[in-house]
Amino acid sequence: MSGSIRTSGAAFGSAPDATSDAAASAIGCHGISVRFGDFTALSNVSLDLQTGTTLALIGPNGAGKTTLLNALSGRLALAGGRVTLRGRDITAEPIHRRARLGLGRSFQIINIFPEMTVLENLRLAAQPMAFELQPFWRSVRAWPQLEDRAREVAALVGLDDALDLPAAVLSHGRQRAVELGLALMSDPPVLLLDEPLAGVGQSEIQGTTALIERVRKGRTVLLVEHNMDVVMQVSDEVVVMMAGEILTRGTPDAVRCDERVRRAYLGGTEMREVTHA
């Protein structure tokens, strides 16, 4: 059992892939389909994200946005197609392997460790990158790098004053910050964010948006979000999904003016109004 730890820099740093050929595509799927019984949730979807860009995924409820995220992160079995991560075919890789290969993810429903403190939450999230097999013979405090990294990320997501509080007692907005912090602990070069603003109060939206802005620098981000103001602000490109297929893809402005997109959203109503979570 290897007790060696590879924290500082190398493991946590988001060094770009050595394969320069793949530098273009950070994450992509090629003709993937997902079926639930008779229902086709994703039908022959292909999508490629260029390294370093932020792409927002929008569309009405049930369009397949979260399903696509689940397919990319490995939570769902594909009925067909391939998924690639930084030039590597990961279609057959399980969730935890994809995570170790540099795919981070936050969830729409808050997924944290409720009984642990914020510090314990983040420290646990640092462990997979630090150890191949988790050591059992010493307290986790024997590896101060884990805690240092946890404090670093806590400061980034604005939780440095809540380190010793159990995650369960935090406000919804701050639990969101924990959720995001967990996804950031390994400093993943590719990040999937599933509605990071869901349930976040009006007063906290600006702060969270600023946080997403900070987080997306130097990373490839696929963002599912309903709040169009935020989408327009943080994304380089927007993809509109509809009934398990990709309707269109373009710059935020181009998509906003697209007639088909307007029709997709409640028969032509201003998209701005459809900002419910």
Binding site: H96, I112, E115, L124, L133, Q134, P135, S139, R151
Partner: protein, 326 residues
Amino acid sequence: MTETADKPAAPRRLALATVDLRFTMALAVLFGGVAFTVRDDGIAYMLSLIMVWAIFAIGYDLAFGTAGILSFGHAAYFGLGAYGATWAMLRFGLPFSVGLVVAAAFGGLTGIVVALIGRRVTGLYFSLLTLMLAELVSIVMLTRLRDLSGGVDGIAGIPRPSFMAIDFFANGNFVWIVLGLFVAVILGVAVLRRSPLGQAFQGLRQNPVRLEQLGLNLGRLRLAAMGISGAVSGLSGALLASLMMYASPQLLSWKLSGDVLIMTLLGGSGTLLGPILGVAFFEVLKEVLAAYTDHWYGVLGVIFIVGTIFMPKGLAGVVLRRWRRA
């Protein structure tokens, strides 16, 4: 980050794990104190019995209260541990210490095999699988492997250790060996629970979806939890066989798997203190109730139901909550 003066002065709260360990060690000292002062054979036997069962419950709770794996089949690891030690000592003439190692290996390997067989199922399906496999072991031992298990009669004359001419067949002496192992298991499990692996176990219980997304292999974690939990259970089985100087397929019975779950829940899962309190409560109450009625198990059942309703975190939850502020 620098310490700022305007930080809100939160009341100093001791970590639950710290209070838990202190209480548990105090209990061990109490057991030792009683054994030392009372010097009664019956009391020593009762103390040993409680500590052996407590080791079993602590081992069980590694899977249940720590890693969140509900098992209905821990009697298999317990009983096979007892038989492993019995065979090592009686058939191969190996010393007591080696018998304990064999017992832990038997229990641990059985736990790993069960986890491997059930690697595709989780939750209640896995729980039912543990029950099924444990019953299989029990039935096979009782019927096909009668020569090895002693059948319904069991195997009598299981030795106790011999060391420096001390008579460990006297319960007053044997209790110290049990106490030593009891303390060793508590300290070992306390370290494990705080270790990276222990933290991952807790994550597995609290949120497996998130844990997997962080890059941890859940299957491997379940294997480790079942292996370690099985090993501790096997060790306790060997100690019980040695304490009673007798092993029988009854040690593999599903009733034992149920008892250890009830004790752990009653005492409070997820702590060290809980399983010990649960066992002590269960054993003492059994002694008291059995003196009055043959239906003591039914009365215990009622107490268990009332206990889980009014003390969802068990006896330890009540005790630890009160003492957490220091």
